[in-house]
């Protein structure tokens, strides 16, 4: 194998694929990136057995071939090469090594045979649809924060992607919950998504998708089977296993009959929550919301450090209510709202509260209170 690649192109691709490679690996080949020549240039592939990313970069191929080298080392080398340089990769000879040359720098990397490199065996995909990168990214961004990090709740360790209905129109909907809060975002169902059974996309895959869609206006092709998801953006193809679990019937925790409506300026509310929670303890984090006629009082009492209160002018006409929330959860949710005004639909201090933009219906958040 002998190829020459533009350093910037190689670096960009390696930065995408090397993240998939775990820092610690008990299986040596998983620390490596597979590099292979092809008709479109050089393809780079990394996997952790659950997730694989393949990216093709333009390259001048003098001799076809394939090999694998340590991903993080190759990435670090290319990162430190001077900008604008041409990188030559040459494998062969009897020592089974890969020579990396750029300008006057020369590296020799140990290789492992490409035939040992695992393949995720994607199989057939039953559904495939195209969606704008920014729109798909929005689905992920709005819900990602609510994914559970409790490992034993494996069925909550991802985003539930499925086709639902909103006001009679089919939508592609993303839902995540950690059992304390729930986030839901949706967009008009793209052509080809019809009849899609729900799938749970794992947290690590979600994070990689987010990064692949960074400042991309390109179209994304999403393909799904019962066990795998494939996301193709430009020259990058990410394939991942899905979580083998059943996402709960989340619709039942989204309150429909909450009749106490609070409208509050989002920025003022977030700032006030942030201010009063300064005195809260690391463990507690509870902030009490006391609602009266046109007035919201936020308060925190921490026996160890003191107390704080702040009053806000709000739109609220229902009967007075005291309710507690985790301040961090309130801030997480308000930071996802796009408009200026947050709408909270409340019932009582022991029931879920619905939070959304006062003007938009394509995302909603459900938050369970704290007993305070």
């Amino acid at each position: 194998m002998k190829v020459t690649v533009e350093r910037a192109e190689l670096l960009k691709s390696l930065s995408h694929v090397h993240r998939v490679v775990e820092r610690r690996n008990t299986i040596p080949i998983l620390a490596n990136v597979l590099i292979r020549t092809g008709t479109n240039g050089l393809s780079l592939k990394a996997t952790d057995l659950d997730l694989e990313v393949v990216e093709t970069v333009p390259a001048e191929v003098s001799q076809d071939g394939a090999t694998t080298v340590p991903a993080h080392v190759l990435y670090d080398i290319v990162r430190k090469l001077p900008d604008g340089s041409q990188v030559q990769l040459e494998a062969g000879g009897e020592r089974g090594s890969l020579a990396v040359r750029a300008g006057r720098a020369r590296f020799t990397l140990q290789t492992l045979p490409e035939t040992d490199f695992p393949d995720l065996a994607a199989g057939e995909f039953s559904h495939s649809f195209k969606v704008k990168g920014a729109e798909f990214r929005r689905l992920v961004d709005k819900t990602q924060f609510a994914i559970s990090t409790e490992e034993t709740r494996y069925y909550l360790n991802g985003i539930y992607l499925h086709v639902a209905e909103n006001a009679g129109k089919p939508t592609l909907r993303a839902v995540a919950t950690d059992g304390h809060r729930l986030a839901q975002a949706e967009l008009d169902a793209p052509e080809g998504a019809g009849g899609l059974a729900g799938v749970i996309v794992p947290r690590k895959t979600v994070a990689e998708i987010q990064k692949l869609l960074e400042d991309k206006d390109a179209e994304v092709t999403v393909s799904l089977s019962a066990t795998k998801i494939r996301v193709a953006v430009g020259a990058i193809v990410l394939t991942s296993k899905l979580i083998d679990g059943t996402f709960p019937d989340y619709g039942r925790v989204i309150p429909a009959g909450n009749d106490k409506t609070l409208l509050v300026d989002k920025a003022d509310f977030a700032a006030a929550v942030d201010r009063v929670s300064t005195v809260s303890s690391e463990r507690g984090r509870a902030v009490k919301l006391s609602l009266g006629d046109g007035k919201l009082t936020l308060s925190v009492t921490n026996p160890d450090s003191g107390s704080a209160t702040e009053e806000l002018e709000v739109e609220y006409g229902a009967e007075p209510l005291d309710i507690g929330f985790n301040s961090r959860y309130l801030l997480d949710i308000t930071s996802q709202l796009e408009g200026d005004t947050a709408e909270l639909k409340l019932a009582d201090p022991g029931s879920p509260t619905l939070v959304r933009d006062s003007t938009k219906t394509d995302a909603l958040y459900v938050l369970m209170p704290m007993r305070v």
């Binding site: 990090t149 409790e150 059992g179 809060r181 059943t246 925790v253 985790n326 369970m368 209170p369």
Partner: protein, 238 residues
């Protein structure tokens, strides 16, 4: 840990769990063998109207569900049974009547149902916690019909079955749990399927609220809350 911090406590969302209710999900045991044989032998029944009798949580509804799947039966709650709706309920040739309990159903409707079922040769599977033969009823004809009704009893679960039930209940909720925790619960919880359901649900909620895995230590804490006075302080070891 000195128990829950009751001053400020995060409440969990009430995320529903779906119980696995297929035939293969039913846990066979000596105490429910007769009932299982009955459902498995459908439609070769000696009597077309049968009542499953057993304490709460012993699997009557699960078996009724399996029967309904096989026979195409619709399911009605005994207390919702109305005389006028009987012909329609029997229209499929098979019917499940759930939770028959003395004083909690319309006697005229049930009498009409039994008559019509006999006339049409329809299959009816009823469930009850106590044998209908012993009930005091206002309609003497119905009382004598119920005395003649074939019943199949399901016994309360024994320990090996309760252990299997605990594992199934955790599996229904997709909660991985080790055998030590199951044995720990089994020794301390109320020894009924209902007791098992209660403790598993409470543990699921507690784990979700605390964002912790289900462990023996959490089980000890939950049992202390469920059954005050029976907890063991040395178990609060995390």
């Amino acid at each position: 840990m000195t128990g829950r911090d009751t001053k400020s406590r995060q409440l969990p969302l009430d995320l529903p769990a779906a119980a696995a209710m297929q035939r293969e999900d039913f846990l066979g045991a000596p105490g429910n063998a007769a009932a299982l044989t009955l459902v498995d032998s459908f439609p070769d029944w000696t009597a077309r109207v049968v009542c499953l009798v057993g304490p709460a949580g012993t699997g009557k509804s699960h078996l009724a569900r399996v029967f309904a799947t096989r026979s195409g039966a619709v399911t009605v709650a005994a207390r919702d049974l109305a005389r006028a709706a009987v012909p329609e309920a029997l229209a499929h040739g098979a019917l499940v009547v759930e939770d028959l309990a003395p004083g909690d159903f319309d006697e005229a409707a049930l009498f009409h149902l039994l008559n019509l079922a006999r006339e049409q040769g329809a299959f009816v599977l009823m469930t009850a916690r106590t044998p209908p033969a012993h009930w005091r009823l206002a309609t003497p004809d119905l009382a004598s019909r119920l005395r003649a009704l074939p019943t199949v009893e399901i016994a309360a679960a024994d320990d090996p079955l309760l252990a299997a039930v605990l594992v199934k209940l955790f599996a229904d909720r997709q909660i991985p749990v080790d055998d030590a925790t199951v044995q720990f619960l089994l020794r301390r919880m109320e020894r009924t399927v209902e007791g098992a359901q209660q403790v598993v649900e409470a543990l699921d909620r507690a784990a979700l609220a605390a964002q912790r895995p289900v462990t023996r230590a959490l089980a000890a804490q939950v049992l202390r809350d469920l059954l005050p006075g029976e907890g063991e302080p040395e178990d609060a070891d995390d």
